[in-house]
Subunit: 197 residues, 2 copies
């Protein structure tokens, strides 16, 4: 890895955190450069434009999410355990960022939902992949006989997403100390309704 790639990675690492805090549009090259002790132009030279920077931030965040959530979840046994693992790692992922910043993907989802362009395309692709991954894990749980065989895996993914959104809102904006507890209750109810009766 050359020196350039190295600094580029350092920039993106810091930028993913900052973007989660102030948004992809709220990011400024100048502030980023100051944080990292380099010049605006020196930092900018690593990216063709701010838009390209935003896309690369989303790519870097996707890699981080994969390492922190998807890969560990895949180490859990197929079926119900893997769903639980996925949920727990997802919560961990948010928890790590809770005190400092929010979730970049949720922030970007709001920011980009009516702003067409490569950044939006990148985010939509990532979110689609993620939701489909959840659904595929649920589908496997059906095959294993852990979940109802008339379950709609996509519906479960959709609702699980809502459970996480509510958690983010409760813990980040409302500072609700019972947010985690409520989220586990919602998840339990989701799984209970999905299990064979």
């Amino acid at each position: 890895m050359s020196k350039g790639d190295d600094t580029r990675a350092t920039i993106l690492d810091h930028a993913t955190r900052e973007a989660a805090r102030v948004g992809l549009e709220g990011l400024t090259i100048g502030a980023l450069a100051k944080d990292l002790g380099m010049s605006k132009s020196g930092l900018f030279a690593h990216f063709a434009s701010k838009e390209a920077l935003q896309v690369q931030i989303l790519e870097a965040a996707t890699d981080q999410f994969t390492d922190a959530v998807i890969r560990p979840a895949l180490r859990a046994p197929r079926g119900l355990p893997r769903i639980v693992a996925l949920f727990e790692r997802w919560l961990d992922y948010l928890e790590v960022r809770r005190a400092e910043v929010g979730c970049l993907f949720l922030a970007a989802a709001i920011e980009l939902d009516d702003r067409p362009g490569p950044a939006r395309d990148q985010l939509v692709a990532q979110q689609r992949d993620w939701l489909e991954f959840i659904a595929s894990v649920a589908r496997a749980a059906v095959t294993e006989g852990h979940l109802r065989d008339d379950l709609d895996p996509t519906q479960l993914a959709h609702e699980l997403f809502g459970v996480i959104c509510a958690y983010h809102h409760a813990t980040r904006l409302m500072r609700d100390p019972r947010a985690l507890e409520r989220t586990r209750l919602a998840f339990d109810r989701l799984l209970r309704d999905a299990q064979p009766r």
Copy 2:
């Protein structure tokens, strides 16, 4: 209502829409003025600062939300019907804004969750009131015998919020044509689990 109050109301009406699109921070006085065919300084004169404008936008949006969702829901009979009415009006509220912009409150929730100040305070108060209103409606439904008497109304409010968040994400970012259908399924499941068995 004097001329000044009239213009101020016009500005806020337009600004609430714009803020839902580009965020409270993404708003600019200049763009707002151009949209309304007036000068920057003329528009700015109605507000002490941009921060004050943001607070007043949130106040105006709260009034709109009350008129569009809370008041109509209160016209439905106590208990289960009122919960359903509340949900339907909430969906309508989002649907009206779906094609054009997103939900200002969800956008602001992400934007302000780590930016202390009067705007954040205003939003937190509004969200707390709204969640407590949902909980109180659910509590009344318990009293009426429509819902399980061991139901936690606050938990129901929390989970209903998640259902709406998932809808917003699915319809706004993902452009999922089945978003509404999935949301009704999630709501049905929420109510089913809350009813006496």
